[in-house]
Subunit: 291 residues, 2 copies
């Protein structure tokens, strides 16, 4: 069986185009969507990543304000900056970029991001709203998985979907999104016992554990669709996922590559979320109500 | 195989005793834990249920303030009462009792319950905090399932647990609690396809769908533990769960009865949560910090 590679690149272009079109429509009304990215590290690859968001934003007609607080920023300063950005009408979306300085509690800080500007679904309130079906932004990576499934017409309703990984940024929000789409959702993780007990009967397996080679061909059945959310940097600097591609190819019906799969869609969704946030905020202004 | 009945009554007594002991310890410091129950209906069975909470609270040394706003209460009045109770230092726990008047949006109202007083885990923020591992109260029914499993020494770590039902009050919070306990968790529901595909290989099945006879002996394997969260009132007024007890008995290793199973533990947990909330709030006062 030949395994179809599900590239995310064309989809990323489509989403970016959609963000650009909608940003332009908003701009006519005098509102240019603006994304704030808060950084507090001197880690080179983080700055590289943030600049890539900035470039993508500019390409989509979205302002990007990078708020670099330096590697010595305190939790207090970070909290106050997040509160200010949350209150500032010209800011539509806010990302708190990790890593943060040692001793700073990211889990506590994200609670200061206003839910309506929380375009990467970092605030626990966003996750809770997602769980109860209220409007909220899912983490971009979790939504990227759904967008890829939709783009390639892979149904999940009534099907057996296994998510490997129980993180608050991927596994848990993704399982909520899949439940909303009427899948039967199983969440496995490092302590849940043999993977193959669950993955062998799955229609779709999503791997988001951050462990190179975690899922191999022996874990799946012919025809399984495998979505690889892992992004692991090897000693030589190359990027690989959580899937042992070589052994999965020829068994899986389809597989997302790393790089060029889920990760390539994520940034475009941050931009689309920013535009969606800007639109909602401008509507709320027109209605004269706080968001 | 004979099926053990997992009665919740003795466990309920134990939890109530624990609440009573801890309430007494707090009372020495001059603080009597207080639970507020907000009601806005003239439904008889609801008032009967609220009085049963009140009686149980009194028995555990907990004040219970029933705030009856009548069946014509508006959303605005309800919101303002919930905000006032959230701000009132003498109130430690808050329950918003359903049903609410027609047109009133319960989902929106529960957002006004302060998370530290949200002892039935109704605010989406409580659910989000549960998901990210921050301190929060789970809905009492979801925690009741965990307490029953613990009480009868039924392990879930590394085991296959299937939850039927994806509600925000049971299925979703319970799946988070089970993940925290290292289970592999599958959530099924009305649209996820044939139940037996998932339940036949499960070690533990929790049914929380609100449908009489949903799970029968044909769905499970010898040795499965079945927890029945359903509470369905039959035309003759009797209470039954979601499990067809007759066909499950003799196949399941153990089964919670309805009534007398999960439901009987729930009220005692509301009391324990109120005492836990009171303790945290008094500690926060001592520290001089807002909770």
């Amino acid at each position: 069986m030949s395994t179809t590679l599900l590239s995310g690149r064309a989809l990323a272009q489509l989403i970016q185009q959609k963000a650009r079109d909608e940003a332009r429509d908003l701009d006519i009304d005098g509102l240019r969507p603006t994304l704030a990215v808060v950084v507090a590290t001197d880690d080179g690859s983080t700055h590289w990543y943030v600049r890539s968001i900035e470039r993508a934003a500019e390409g989509a007609g979205i302002n990007c304000r990078i708020v670099d607080l330096g590697q010595d920023a305190t939790g207090q300063v970070l909290a106050s900056v997040l509160k200010d950005l949350s209150a500032e009408p010209s800011i539509n979306g806010i990302i708190l970029q990790t890593p943060l300085p040692p001793g700073v509690d990211a889990d506590e800080l994200v609670g200061h991001i206003a839910p309506e500007k929380d375009i990467d679904g970092a605030n626990p309130l966003s996750l809770g709203r997602l769980a109860v079906g209220q409007p909220s932004f899912a983490p971009a990576t979790a939504r990227a998985v759904i967008e890829i499934l939709d783009h390639f017409d892979i149904p999940v309703a009534g099907r057996n979907v296994v998510v490997i990984g129980r993180s608050a940024v991927v596994g848990k929000p993704l399982s909520l999104l899949l439940l909303e789409r009427d899948a039967a959702v199983t969440v496995c993780h490092s302590r849940s016992g043999p993977l193959e007990n669950y993955t062998r009967t799955a229609d779709v397996v999503v791997v988001a554990a951050g462990r190179t080679g975690l899922l191999n061909g022996g874990h799946i059945s012919a025809g399984t669709v495998v979505i690889d959310v892992g992004t692991n940097v090897l000693p030589d600097g190359s990027l690989v996922g959580d899937v042992d591609e070589a052994s999965v190819k020829g068994i899986a019906a389809a597989l997302t590559p790393v790089p060029g799969g889920v990760g390539s869609v994520t940034t475009s969704l941050l931009l689309l979320h920013t535009v969606e946030a800007a639109r909602e905020q401008s509507r709320a202004l027109v209605r004269g109500t706080a968001v």
